[in-house]
């Protein structure tokens, strides 16, 4: 049994009075897997992945990579470990070219720091084709603001592809996409797993999650409330379980309201 690639132990994070995560344990296996991270808006999904990618520092808890405890976890260390994140807000510089966005922060440079623009354009072109965007409308030197939602998501994914991530995190990549565009993203995720990359796929659409994931993890108000392998459940069962969680939620809220009145 290989070491787990990533393991989070007892991670908590609050923003002022809002407790976004409470004692969360989470892991990614050593061999490539696709994990669907499901939960309502505000459940803490984005917070969890921002901790993994080093943007937020957890209030407490430990982070392990390949079994090794990581100290002073940061964006730089996270990337160095091969974690590539495609953020929900798409994290693109809208007025810059497609190529510049793909290589943002890791420009391909020659001696003295001059950017190899031709190489970047060529690579950007190749990557976008690989992902399945072969539009004639855009070129790798067109500004991102001129691209469609799916193409923009493609830009962010192309980053992950080029830098050969061990773990790719996609935060609600399909929310703003058409069905065919979403399908392209799914194909890409599966393809990436074959290529050896794991993936955390965040969504609040259970069907999307079930469709593509090997394992589903459900986050609810900062806590992991359910975890299930795709092999051991059906989508119907999953929906039922989620409904139960939602009902509990309702009860808790009722309770709170009762207590208040």
């Amino acid at each position: 049994m290989k070491n787990k690639f990533l393991e989070l132990k007892n991670i908590s994070k609050s923003f002022g009075k809002v407790s976004a995560l409470e004692r969360v344990n989470f892991y990614i296996k050593g061999e490539p897997e696709i994990v669907g991270l499901i939960g309502d808006n505000g459940a803490g999904k984005s917070t969890l992945i921002k901790i993994i990618s080093g943007i937020h520092t957890p209030d407490c808890g430990e982070i392990y990579i390949n079994g090794k405890r990581m100290e002073n976890w940061s964006v730089v260390k996270s990337r160095a470990s091969g974690v590539e994140t495609v953020y929900q807000d798409r994290a693109l510089a809208m007025q810059q070219t497609l190529a510049r966005n793909i290589f943002m922060g890791r420009e391909l440079t020659s001696i003295f720091g001059f950017v190899k623009s031709k190489l970047q354009f060529a690579e950007a072109d190749r990557l976008m084709r690989t992902i399945g965007f072969t539009s004639k409308v855009f070129a790798s030197d067109s500004a991102v603001v001129n691209l469609s939602g799916g193409e923009r998501q493609g830009v962010a994914i192309a980053r992950a592809l080029y830098f050969k991530a061990n773990l790719m995190i996609l935060d609600e990549p399909t929310t703003a996409l058409s069905l065919t565009e979403a399908q392209k993203i799914f194909d890409f995720i599966r393809q990436a797993r074959k290529g050896g990359s794991s993936c955390i796929f965040i969504t609040h659409n259970i069907y999307h999650a079930y469709d593509v994931s090997d394992r589903c993890v459900v986050l609810d108000r900062g806590k992991i409330v359910m975890e299930t392998d795709r092999e051991h459940t059906t989508v119907e069962q999953l929906v039922k379980d989620m409904q139960k969680i939602a009902q509990n939620n309702g009860k808790v809220r009722e309770g709170i309201n009762n207590a208040r009145s």
């Binding site: 807000d89 810059q96 510049r100 943002m104 922060g105 890791r106 950017v115």
Partner: protein
């Protein structure tokens, strides 16, 4: 043949697409020149006119090119006029203590870079708005100069005609050396802005700060370097300014602030960050200089000068705005 022509057309349209902001500025400059030529051809066909323009143009070009980096990064520097003063003072202090003038230039560069560095630190590490903090820095430096000089100027007339003088503002084969310095500075700026990782990253920083941080760009360092670059530019300008006027006075550089900013914006660099154009700034500086010398040369009263500045600035900005809407 046909294929060749299509290739020509697409590459021309690409060129226009990429440089449309600078090209709008060029259009403004051309129209202005044509108008001036029609009004007063004798003056505007006379090389002496351009000699006069070149005297100050180099300073506008150097400062406006450097400012592009700061503005593209999403910040502003309002202290460069005072840095010009401080660097000029550094130069004359070195001269007074009997050291080599070249050493004086070196010290001026170091002082300019240092103030830029302090600006950068205040803005990036303390998180204070550049608009506010560089106003503060501007007063602080200017105040220091007034206190230190007791408000007195220093003549450097004795430098005229020396090799040192000729190296900075003399002429080679009739061509003004100060313009060669400006040309060199523009080439450096274009290389940095359009071809270097510094330009690529500073554009991303000004475009999407949060995402630049997420992508691991060292935002604080990049921004600080932009302020350092403006500081260095100010020092070069200080040397030209002092030598051109043959005197250092404590208010040196005060008048540059609005003119240089106007040149940058007329040139097509927008105020919101993320994009900018060095060539546009160069053209913007030309526009400013032509108005500066042209109004008087054209026989219009100097009382009209500021009015024309304002008019051309507004017209140019409207031109850029219309240009945006079309894309």
């Amino acid at each position: 043949m046909a294929g060749h022509r299509i290739y020509m057309i697409t590459s021309i349209s690409r060129f226009i697409e990429k440089n449309r902001r600078a090209l709008i500025a060029l259009l403004v400059l051309s129209v202005m020149m044509i108008i001036f030529l029609i009004i007063n051809p004798q003056v505007f066909l006379n090389p002496l006119m351009y000699k006069a323009i070149f005297k100050t143009l180099s300073m506008f070009i150097i400062l406006a090119s450097a400012m592009v980096f700061v503005i593209v990064s999403g910040e502003i520097d309002l202290s460069f006029g005072s840095i010009v003063g401080l660097a000029g003072w550094t130069l004359v202090l070195t001269l007074e203590s009997g050291l080599s003038p070249y050493l004086g230039v070196l010290f001026a560069l170091i002082v300019g870079a240092f103030i830029g560095f302090i600006n950068g630190i205040i803005i990036t590490r303390l998180g204070i708005s550049s608009l506010v903090s560089t106003i503060g820095m501007s007063f602080l430096i200017r105040g220091l100069i007034y206190i230190g000089t007791k408000g007195m100027g220093t003549s450097v007339v004795y430098l005229a005609g020396t090799p040192f003088y000729n190296a900075f503002i003399g002429s080679i084969w009739g061509f003004p050396v100060n313009m060669l310095w400006a040309l060199g500075f523009v080439v450096l700026s274009v290389l940095l802005f359009d071809y270097h990782i510094f330009g690529a990253q500073i554009s991303c920083v000004g475009d999407n700060l949060e995402s630049s941080l997420e992508m691991g760009i060292n935002v604080a360092t990049i921004k600080t370097l932009a302020f350092v670059y403006v500081g260095i530019a100010s020092a070069i300008v200080a040397v030209q300014f002092t030598l051109t006027n043959q005197i250092f006075y404590p208010g040196s550089g005060d008048g540059l602030l609005l003119i240089v900013l106007a040149a940058v914006f007329i040139g097509g660099t927008p105020g919101w960050g993320g994009i900018g154009t060095i060539m546009g700034s160069v053209i913007g500086a030309c526009i400013i200089s032509v108005i500066n010398s042209g109004i008087i040369a054209a026989g219009v009263s100097y009382l009209f000068k500021e009015f024309f500045y304002g008019l051309i600035i507004i017209l140019a900005l409207i031109g850029h705005k219309l240009n945006e809407k079309r894309c």
